[in-house]
Symmetry: C2
Subunit: 398 residues, 2 copies
């Protein structure tokens, strides 16, 4: 592959917050031309300010995009969009359900202008009929609805979210996947498509381990267990104390326990009848964990990780955010690139996870200023001249 895989593809990105913008990020980093279409005050994340907790996410999600403003609530804005889509390949959005249809610019209306168009959306519960279709959904409420909170948390404690916004990001990844699948199909058929991604659908498969425990236990919910195995069937399998924090260690086969015992310099542990088999260790889980913890707690995360990897034990340090943004492996892979930011100082900008041996990811550009490309894009895609642009600006359309 000599060029970026999506070179030549043009996209209108109506993404908000994480889900849609991450799809646009993946498209832009794969070589598509991504035009971010924003309201006159900017999309939700941008509108929260130039030094807010939303500033860093906005910055990394919107590299390599152009920005235009467009008031889709105005009839002129809707008409402009219909002119533009005749020359684009993809329109996607993650507004509340029905927003684009309400303004007369939903999938059917836009595909009528361009039968090759791929129109894609992602909402909490999808656009197909169903009782939750019109529900508002965000990452946290999807973690609740989709069952994730019910299985996460301390033993005896309440249900808990994960602080990683994975429902948003796994949906944005599926949104990208659905779009590129439709582009591939169009290359054969010439026909466009309407892609419909539900965050709830995307989260469901991640319950695999928990649902596995549920079904083998005759449909009983597994109890929350902190960092232990959901079915309490594997040990050691936990987060252990280190001299400078914590490490995660899991043994999923008998061989892992023998290797761990050797790594701890305690090969006789593997012979102790309390620890002889996986079933024995699971039955003596507290004693098993205590044995491991007594060894790990006297060593640093780095020492433990190096010894464990050397012995073929599955182990990792529990890294904090400072560790992550300075991670030597993410730097070596070119996944993180330190770049100056106008209000945050030096930040860890992120390159795409979609990587190819034969081609480097594109050089990052700064996220665009709001509407920086409005005049150029409207001229190119809708033949808007200076006089019309002035009228559109005066009327609050762009």
């Amino acid at each position: 592959m000599q060029t970026q895989p999506l070179a030549g593809v043009t996209v209108l990105d109506f993404g908000q917050v994480y889900n849609g913008p991450y799809c646009g990020f993946l498209l832009a980093q794969a070589g598509a031309r991504v035009i971010k279409v924003e309201s006159l005050i900017g999309e939700t994340l941008r509108a929260r300010g130039e030094k807010a907790s939303s500033t860093f996410p906005f910055s990394f999600l919107n590299t390599n995009k152009q920005s235009i403003t467009l008031n889709i609530k105005s009839a002129d804005g809707q008409a402009l969009l219909k002119r533009m889509v005749r020359d684009v390949d993809v329109v996607f959005e993650n507004f509340a359900p029905g927003t684009m249809d309400k303004y007369g610019i939903g999938a059917e209306a836009l595909r009528a202008e361009n039968p090759r168009l791929i129109y894609a959306s992602s909402t909490g519960y999808g656009n197909a009929p169903g009782p939750y279709r019109d529900y508002l959904g965000m990452d946290i409420t999807l973690q609740a609805m989709a069952g994730v909170m019910s299985i996460t948390g301390e033993e005896g404690g309440p249900p808990l979210k994960t602080a990683a916004a994975f429902a948003d990001f796994i949906a944005g990844t599926h949104l990208y996947a659905g779009i590129v699948s439709a582009l591939f199909a169009r290359a054969q058929s010439g026909e466009g498509a309407t892609v419909d991604i539900s965050m709830q659908d995307c989260v469901l498969p991640t319950l695999a381990t928990a649902l596995g425990s549920y079904y083998v236990a005759d449909q009983q919910q597994p109890q929350r267990g902190g960092n232990r195995h959901p079915g309490r069937a594997l040990a050691p399998y936990n987060v252990y104390s280190a001299a400078d924090g914590h490490v995660a260690i899991i043994c999923i086969r008998e061989g892992h326990w023998r290797k761990l015992s050797e790594a701890m310099g305690n090969p006789s542990a593997a012979e102790d009848p309390r620890f002889a088999t996986m079933a024995d260790r699971a039955a003596n889980m507290d004693a098993t964990d205590a044995l491991v913890n007594s060894w790990t707690s006297e060593r640093t995360r780095a020492e433990i990780t190096e010894i464990m990897q050397h012995h073929g034990v599955i182990c990792a340090p529990v890294n904090d955010l400072n560790d992550v943004v300075n991670d030597p492996h993410l730097a070596a892979r070119g996944t993180i690139e330190k770049r100056p930011h106008p209000t945050l100082g030096e930040i860890a900008q992120i390159h795409t996870p979609l990587r190819y041996r034969d081609i480097d990811p594109p050089a990052l550009t700064d996220p665009p200023k709001l509407g920086a490309a409005t005049a150029d894009i409207l001229a190119e895609f809708a033949g808007v001249d200076d006089a019309e642009l002035k009228r559109l600006r005066d009327n609050g359309v762009v």
Copy 2:
């Protein structure tokens, strides 16, 4: 779109456990012909048994696939694979790093047999050079290494995993996305590609909210906060008690709080000076949460959810696994289909999240028996006749 988007694409799926098999699941449900290539005892999940906690995940991840056995440690197995790849479009795997190269059947060797081939892999840390490249990685250790555990957990408590295996599934989704992007590029260029997906890369973007808080706080790690907002900047934003469990409610704009106050039949709450602005409510977070909790705790999850959605408040019930497998919306969308299973009874089989308005997902088939298609596939792709097949079986190659 009249046919499935990947109709006509042929794939050899060397996937193990979740990451690779989920990629193969998405490919098969998108219409590709997916041939699951397994060792003579079956891939890791299958090999754990017919009624184990791995049985349900194996069942839903391997629908609509064919299965063959192939001993890739044998010279004859390696030679057979090289014959087969001349007629396939995609080979993917998620073995430990370097496994396929060790057997002489890595990306370069297979692409030499077929320059149009797309070879894709996903490992914990990717195949590009870097200090962790050869580390073993699994979902739990990636949650540790990539920073997710450090931000998840109760206030004052230890770092915590989420029990959703999202690191595996988000990597599998990226693996699919990388493969289909390469297929699209090949449709223009005729050239294959080598796709390299690192689970660590895929998890990194999900830290968006936490990294946003980290950077705006001059690179200070946000404290773990249970179900509260990481930066403690938004309230109400929590999980609250219901008469029959819990609900999640988040207010991210001032209007949400007014709507929530109305929904609770307590519009004057919005005027109380402790709760007047988001900053006031964040400063009085315990009192704000107590006010909401006193209302929710007297109502069921269903009552609360209905009232909140009616008022435009972002809310969802904390569903358990029994709720999820019987979810009426997942049933209405056709995402869950109840099907009989030989050892588990009736189970919730899962359809693809990649959905198109113009086309239904394919009918599900049962997961294949180990090696059920070995004879047919070897005849079709490598011209193996009965005599050669007998020799291969006798020698433990298939």
